[in-house]
Amino acid sequence: MEKNVLVATNISKSYVGVRALDKVSVTIKEGEVKCLAGENGCGKSTFVKLMSGVELADKGEGTIVLNGREIDKSKHNVISAINEGIQVIYQDLSLFDNMTVAENIALNKMIKEKRKLTNKKEVYEIAKAALEQIGVEMDLDAIIQEISIANRQIVAICRALALDAKLLFMDEPTTALTKKEIERLLDIVRALKAKGIAVVFISHKLDEVMSVADSITVFRDGKLVKNMEKDEFDVKKLVYYMTGREVEYSHYERKNTSDAPVLELKNMTKTGQYNNINLSVRAGDIVGLTGLLGSGRTELALSVFGLNPIEKGEICLNGKPVKIGSPVDAVRNGIALLPEERATQGLLLNKDMTDNVSVAILKQMTNAVGILNKKKRYDLANQMIKRFRVRIPNADTLIKTLSGGNQQKVVLGKWVASEPKLFILDSPTVGVDIGSKSEIYEQIQALAAEGMAVIIISDEVEEICANCNRVTVMFQGNIVKEFDEADMKGEDAQDKITEAIHSLTKSKAGKESETV
């Protein structure tokens, strides 16, 4: 007989005046992999907070049953949730960066057991046992700061396992991972499932979700709109339930007729990163740059923006060779970079809209004697809010209060204000919900249509196919395949690109096994 780990019935949550969750009922079975889907603000995070005891559900109607026992809703807290085996892996992972892998795995268990002393041997044993459960080996003495995000995530999972997790919530676990790392994570999820541990994903990436989930629960505006079982999964339907409308990405076609390249990379080489790269981007081109982590795509883009000094080769802008030694040179030459790490590298989170959009062009925002002109900045901010349809109360709103999608629009606005000739976008829709995604695509395509040269770096083949008129696939520092405009018009472009990336992974895996 299948047991239910969690049965929530008619649960509601109101914040001052706002109903964040409205009579939601969710059942999670032992060993089930469930996905909570929905746009930002739909109530899925609120649901997790209620179940993990971070916040209290509204009084009155509604019950929560954990492991077969009804709990007192008004007394549920973090500790009681942990005791029932409910664990949340937050997006930031909540690890201690200066401590070792072993300590991070074992500490929470030792706190739970109200231990007063600690010793290395026991810490090691707890960590080893947890790692063994999912069949992963790891250097227990490594400091968290020095290991990859993917490994940090595994540490967080092991920490939950050490606490005898029965139900694991994972908030956006795949955003910072590459394709291969995601595969590894999904394998681990399957291993957990086999052990009878229920896993709940909260994710935007639909293809991954559908490959591993047994069921999908869709939230919209605080209400549960649909429960889907595995046999009825369908991307189009899912998107419809999430957004309440049909979303179709428009394919981009270049209309510009000039063939003169805006950017030309000639024989660019940096040992260990990329090798003999030749690439040209014309006005109106949207070039997709894809490949696995370690393919050199991000490193190449950083070189063009002056953050990663090149060893050999030449960067030409409008036919003239230029030297780009720092981001200052890059901006002066009309290059803009939308970084992957939006929060730390793209935005001033604690500043308002006005400050953020004007920061790249402060010189144009001043009066005759060089003092900032308030009106000019407000006009710019309002213009960008309108143009990019940023959902924001007003230009004085702090950026950190906005959702991922709206924040990304602000980054776009900042660079568009500087009127770049070449715009490099690194993973432009990471952590962005589907509704905003299509709006961001529209804007990127509009910019290219106006004559800007655009490079999109992305893992998502779907994103590349919708937006790019040319695609370059990199692998281990080399360009291994290029798709031109004719290729991209073909119906099967998406499959071909996936195949190009996939076949390389296979041959790489083959090589690795040979060397072992």
């Binding site: 937050y90 909540s94 201690f96 401590m99 300590e103 706190i111 600690t118 991000t298």
Partner: protein, 340 residues
């Protein structure tokens, strides 16, 4: 992962290595200029005079690792020391353990006051302890007195304690030198601090809180308890620091000590503790304090006046924090994180 294991242990130029290098080089230079420097007497003298600072630096290290700071410890030291001495004189209980007990109780109470204020008001520890420094010292000078207790009036137990030696030697000129029992207190405090830092959950919570307060809360650490502990601990060590300095100079001046706290904070930071919290080491801290006293006591051997002391200390402070941050930046650059 295999890559991680294969990577050779590269030599990293840590703060501790840098400090040891400086100490060795400096000692060589001073010995060349003035061979009289290299003697047991100099070493013993330095151990005794730096003992108090080393003790209190251990408490400061823990506070800094939690991401906090305490600038009130000098006020705690002189308040508890002065009050303890006064009580010893007034009650006539001429016993050093009694004096220490009184001082430590006062120190812990003052430390707890700091902890409560910091935890409840959620204000910057720097501001709170800056205020309590004035309050503690103000209370002392207003309500207890500003009268200097000279070597004649001071309880003989303190005099005896200050002069006590583990062993005594006589050098070629007939001067008696010896190793002060202060070193036992330093060893005990260092061992206790090491045990707390690495062997108890409380010590782990100190590091955890400094790494990320939010993660520590989610993990179930009680930040309230941790705050109470670290500020009470530095309060206690501050009191010991007070008693050691009173014994060292065989006098008790209520307007001394306060104002010297930044030098000791600088010494802890020279030792590699990060002011943002989360990391710091006992060895580094001891070396930091040692360097400070090395300059303090031996610049005269080089023919410099004591005013050079601050200049040297400032230079070492800058070089040492630059090394720490450069190491980190290089690491970040390899992971493509650009912080500059």
């Amino acid at each position: 992962m295999s890559k991680m294991k294969d990577s050779k242990k590269k030599f990293t130029f840590t703060t501790e290595k840098f400090l040891i290098l400086i100490i060795v080089l400096y000692c060589i230079v001073v010995t060349c200029v003035n061979p009289g420097f290299f003697s047991a007497a100099t070493l013993f003298d330095m151990i005794k005079s730096s003992a108090g600072s080393m003790v209190v630096a251990m408490g400061l290290l823990l506070v800094i690792i939690t991401g906090g700071i305490d600038v009130s410890f000098t006020a705690v030291a002189i308040s508890s020391g002065y009050i303890a001495t006064t009580i010893m004189m007034n009650t006539g209980i001429n016993n050093i353990f009694f004096g220490f007990a009184i001082a430590i109780i006062i120190g812990i109470v003052l430390g707890l006051i700091n902890a409560v204020l910091i935890h409840v008001t959620k204000m910057e520890p720097f501001i709170i302890t800056l205020a309590t420094q004035s309050i503690f010292h103000g209370c002392l000078t207003t309500f207890v007195g500003t009268k200097n207790i000279g070597s004649v009036d001071i309880p003989t137990a303190i005099t005896k304690f200050g002069g006590a030696r583990l062993f005594t030697m006589t050098d070629e000129y007939g001067n008696k030198t010896g190793l002060s029992i202060y070193i036992l207190i330093v060893i005990a405090v260092v061992a206790l601090t090491w045990w707390i830092m690495y062997k108890t959950m409380l010590g782990r919570s100190v590091f955890a809180l400094g790494c990320s307060a939010e993660s520590a809360r989610r993990a179930g650490f009680n930040s309230w308890k941790t705050h109470l502990f670290v500020y009470a601990y530095i309060g206690m060590l501050g009191a010991i620091y007070g008693m050691l300095s009173i014994g060292g100079v065989n006098a008790c001046n209520p307007v001394s000590m306060v104002g010297t706290e930044l030098t000791i904070i600088a010494a802890v930071i020279i030792g590699g503790a990060k002011v943002t919290g989360g990391s710091g080491s006992i060895l580094g801290t001891l070396l930091g304090v040692f360097i400070m006293y090395l300059f303090n006591q031996t610049l005269v051997f080089l023919g410099f006046s004591s005013s050079w002391n601050n200049l040297f200390l400032g230079v070492v402070l800058i070089v040492s924090i630059v090394i720490t941050s450069y190491q980190e930046r290089r690491k970040n650059r390899r992971l493509f994180i650009f912080t500059e």
